[in-house]
Amino acid sequence: MSGTDTRTATIAVLVENEAGVLARVIGLFSGRGYNIDSLTVAPVDAERRLSRITIVTSGTEMVIEQIKAQLDRLVPVHKVSDLTLEGPHLVRELALIKVIGRGEQRVEALRLADAFRARVVDATVESFVFEMTGDAEKIDAFLALMRPLGLAEVSRTGAVAIARGTRQIAP
């Protein structure tokens, strides 16, 4: 056993777009006690009835290998790909962030949002909703800055990811 070192893995899973498939994946994680740091799912290919699930998880190397093998043996799973292991890849998350405040704080929030390239998608005299994409760290950093400035509510999508370059994940 390669010790107790843990790592994070971003795993892309191509699945049949059918009822119950998400429940199978989530049940697998809860039933076997694996971590889910984030999980997203959406159909990606209507013609071939495929959805793509992106899971960010963490564990020892042995556990991550187990997670991949367990995912792969689910019948409606076409392909499991460990993006973290397989090379350079992009991870993005979208967040909608509501900040409520007036006066100086409001100006400061707007200035920081600009620096982080967060877009204003809704505004009232005492609130903003910012839209922001980035990796989890960037969003976390922005949220930390907004907290003292009237951060009221956050909605995040969880990570989606794709390999850089010509590498593809096909069924």
Partner: protein, 604 residues
């Protein structure tokens, strides 16, 4: 329901009521027998069954038993076992059997009735979220919502159940789908690739070569095989035997793998694991190269993981990638079907130019012979009339007397000490003759499993080696035996205790026998008679052989109540949390168990 569904069926001759489509698909899948129990939601299927004669229906007395019977049928034939139950309680009663089949990799297709599609989610009468409940209890499951999918789902279910690592599959069938007309589609051509499920069957030649290289260099090799070799079909067992004899290496089997290698062969070390033989476990502990084929390094086999076979390089061949490197990290993983792996190993062994002589493993065999000389399964039976029957002796005599008959013998078990004694004292020469609940350890498995095997093998001598506690968990199946005149023999080792529980309480919990006494037992002889079977009893040693012979000779079902020593423990035993070399061999060493730490005690 609006327009008459049946008139719609007659309008288009290609369309048949769903229930008929179900039966046609079963027939085209080669199904001859189904084990089931009716109810409102599946009445259309029962109606269709009534009107055909391709498929035989065996009416069980409890849905759990239907699944175990299908498991016994499947394990003893290699075919898929088929179950039919109604919605709600029918489906929930089947769950234990499904998990049992999942844990032991047994191919099952279980059809469950469901409330009509428009009522799903309404808490309708006898509605249960069957696909939700059985998702972690099955290899895969389906809810058929569209008639167009019905036939394809049935064919798919059989494919999934039997291919790769076999397992149970549930198809939930809403009642309207069973009534409405549905189109039939033929099964896909054999070998047609599945959309998403494609297990790897052929091993990587490089991995095979590496395995052979390691094995040829071994001084202390062991071949450890499990249920996967049985799953791979009888040919895999033949190939295993060929390979073991070709290499001259020692071979041990898991509880699930018994029969894959002939027990009478001098190269067989017996079963390994918690109640395995001293020689098998010591050889596992001391080996330098281990070849595992189709076994899953179960905790009952490895004992304490950090002390498991510390000196060996390990090769693991398995069809399921998630079995490899799950509990034990191995040097050479081989993905593939056991039969194909063995065929490749035999070819590569012969091709490989590296010399290998028996002489290089001769000292190892001498060491093994020393371990064997301990005779870990020896016991003493007092033969004076009136003496108490030892359970080990009862099983040994059962084995010897059944062997004398020359008949095909299939043995099932319940769960407990009797199960272990059966594994230890009955020798299996061939696969598919041993039916036991290994992974889930389900009391109540043995009687219905023997029943399922008897259906498939009407001429065979099917015996359930039982405990007095376990047998009561599915005793109602005596009724099924009577109805179908199935001559199953129930051989109860009656120690008046949940012996396995009592043993753990004695060894690990200071002899506080909390709730493990089988109080208020029925009179098993009269119980047999009440179910139209023969009841026999052996009270002391001089009655044993006669009862066994009478049991075998009787043409119908029998319950033989064998009154055995109440305080006997099952040895050898590796206490939980201990390593292979910390085995307890007999009562003299029981105090070793007292050293089991709390860390060990938390283990099951």
């Amino acid at each position: 329901m609006s327009a008459s569904p049946l008139s719609a069926a007659s309008a288009d001759p290609a369309m048949k009521p769903g229930a008929e489509v179900v039966l046609r698909a079963l027939k085209d899948q080669g199904v001859e027998v189904i084990f089931g129990y009716p109810g409102g939601a599946v009445l259309p299927i029962y109606d269709a069954l009534f009107q055909q004669n391709h498929i035989r229906h065996i009416l069980v007395r409890h849905e759990q038993a239907a699944v175990h019977a299908a498991e016994g049928y499947a394990r003893s034939t290699g075919k898929v076992g088929v179950v039919l139950v109604t919605s709600g309680p029918g489906a929930t009663n089947a769950v234990t059997g499904l998990v049992d089949a999942l844990m032991d990799s047994i191919p099952i297709v279980c059809l469950t009735g469901q409330v009509p599609t428009h009522l799903i989610g309404n808490d309708a009468f006898q509605e249960a979220d069957t696909t939700g409940i059985t998702r972690p209890a099955t290899k895969h499951n389906y809810l058929v919502k569209r008639s167009e999918d019905l036939a394809a789902v049935l064919h798919d279910a059989f494919h999934i159940a039997r291919s790769g690592r076999p397992g149970p599959v549930v198809i939930d069938l809403p009642k309207d789908i069973l009534i409405k007309p549905a189109p039939y589609t033929e099964p896909p051509k054999p070998g047609a690739p599945h959309r998403s499920y494609r297990p790897v069957l052929d091993p990587d030649p490089a991995a095979i070569r590496e395995a052979v290289r390691l094995l040829k260099g071994a001084r202390r090799p062991i071949i450890y095989t499990g249920g996967g070799v049985i799953n791979a079909g009888p040919e895999a067992s033949q190939l295993l035997t060929e390979f073991v004899r070709l290499t001259g290496m020692p071979c041990t089997n898991t509880l699930m793998g018994l029969g894959a290698f002939p027990a009478s062969d001098p190269q067989f070390l017996g079963m390994l694991g918690m109640h395995g033989t001293y020689e098998a476990n010591m050889a596992m502990w001391r080996c330098d190269v281990m070849l595992n084929i189709g076994a899953r390094f179960d905790d009952r086999v490895t004992g304490r993981l950090d002390k498991f076979s510390p000196e060996s390089k390990k090769i693991h061949a398995d069809i399921d990638p998630s079995s490899i490197n799950k509990n034990v990290k191995v040097e050479v993983p081989i993905l593939g079907d056991a039969a194909r792996v063995l065929r490749a190993l035999i070819a590569a062994w012969k091709e490989d130019a590296t010399p290998f002589s028996r002489a290089q493993i001769e000292p190892w065999w001498r060491q093994i012979d020393e371990w064997r000389a301990i005779r870990c399964l020896a016991f003493t039976q007092d033969m004076t009339p009136g003496a108490v029957i030892k359970p080990q002796h009862a099983v040994k005599r059962l084995f010897e007397i059944t062997r004398e008959t020359g008949r095909e013998v299939i043995v099932s078990t319940e769960v407990g000490q009797h199960q272990m004694w059966a594994a230890q004292y009955i020798g299996f020469e061939k696969p598919n003759r041993w039916l036991t609940s290994g992974g889930l350890g389900t009391m109540g498995y043995g009687l219905p499993a023997a029943m399922g095997a008897q259906i498939a093998h009407p001429e065979a001598l099917c015996i359930d080696v039982a405990g007095e506690a376990s047998i009561l968990m599915n005793i109602q199946e005596m009724g099924t035996l009577a109805q179908y005149r199935l001559p199953v023999k129930v051989f109860i080792l009656n120690n008046e205790y949940m012996g396995m529980v009592r043993q753990w309480q004695e060894l690990l919990h200071g002899g506080r026998y909390s709730e493990s006494y089988s109080a208020a037992l029925p009179d098993f002889v009269r119980l047999a008679e009440a179910f139209h079977a023969k009841g026999l009893r052996a009270r002391s040693i001089e009655e044993l052989d006669g009862v066994i012979r009478e049991m075998i000779a009787h043409p119908g079902p029998v319950i033989a109540d064998i009154c055995v020593a109440k305080d006997e423990n099952c040895f050898p035993m590796i206490p939980s949390g201990a390593a292979h070399n910390e085995m307890i061999l007999g009562p003299d060493q029981e105090k070793n168990a007292a050293r089991v730490t709390d860390e060990g005690k938390v283990l099951v």
